[in-house]
Symmetry: C2
Subunit: 202 residues, 2 copies
Amino acid sequence: MPQERAPTRIQIKNRAAILEAALEVFSAHGFRGSTVDQIAAAAGLSKPNLLYYFASKETIYTALLERLLDTWLDPLRALDPGGEPLEEILAYVRRKLQMSRDLPRESRLFANEIVQGAPRIHAALSGDLKVLVDEKAEVIRDWIAAGKLAPVHPHHLIFSIWSLTQHYADFDVQVRAVLGDEDPFEAAPEFVETVFRRLLQA
Amino acid sequence: MPQERAPTRIQIKNRAAILEAALEVFSAHGFRGSTVDQIAAAAGLSKPNLLYYFASKETIYTALLERLLDTWLDPLRALDPGGEPLEEILAYVRRKLQMSRDLPRESRLFANEIVQGAPRIHAALSGDLKVLVDEKAEVIRDWIAAGKLAPVHPHHLIFSIWSLTQHYADFDVQVRAVLGDEDPFEAAPEFVETVFRRLLQA
DNA sequence: GTCTATAGCCTGATAGAC
DNA sequence: GTCTATCAGGCTATAGAC
């Protein structure tokens, strides 16, 4: 195990390379479908050398999930109770869609995990995630009560934002297979904005 | 291999039990994450006996996918060009949401497959599926041109119906973790109907 | 048709030289 | 810190008795 105190430049570089490789492999094949060999090859290391940095396949996976969860929830955290309601929601939608376009592997990593029952991240869902969502749902409820947004179920509104935007990352192959040559992200921004504008306009 | 000509009662029963067990296991763990032992146990058969009915793990999986794909697309096929536009779309949405509630394993089976790049079903996506979606998108386009629906991108409208409804099956654990005690399907029907009503009302 | 036993491969992890 | 070699366990699939 590398010393905790003073990570050398090469340690920092290798750990980063391993996590990047792990994201690439785990997001494409899920935990069980990925092999340590694949990750080592993608990181440009031998298998034992990779296991010098992370004790096990499981350790890499959970380190990756933890590291990315914060990034993943930042757009929702940024929802400002003091902002203009409809614009705040639409800005959130735009950030989420942008993440589906720019960070599709991260989206698919969580999708894989959750579709299979979230065995390694369930605590975070009913813990931090629930707290954050409940808090923002309350904000939305207040906006509706103040007549700033059309009435909708706040929690389901948030689910709908997740599903609509992440669909473009998680089901990317299907979307592209159906659209043919057309780039999904050509029409998607205007479409999703229209959905939520028409849904919420007071 | 069982004879193709005259499947006995016991053969029919065992093949059905195997496919039911395979749906249970594959939908929960994906192809790679499932073992033949698990499926055999769930079907109440020994592993070699299971492999007497299906030549390999792969064979079971593809048989299952083929068998379910038709069922899965039926709601879209039922979209009637001669019906009342908004009601046709809303009926489709309702059927899809009902399938997420009643057949969540089927939804997760496809979700697992597609998130991982659809390695075993890609041909069907850019083949039959694309043809069907293109055809129905044309119907929607006509409805919009006739002023019966508010203008939206037809393909993305279909994607949004898929994502919103299937989210409740595919991300079930997350939805329930966030909602706590509240049953997702209590508010979901009215919510999704509201989304598409406000989006499409001319 | 169904079983027990096992072949043979793949994979996660470790030993030990350098 | 990094490698080659290898072990131990789990997995798909088959052999062969009943």
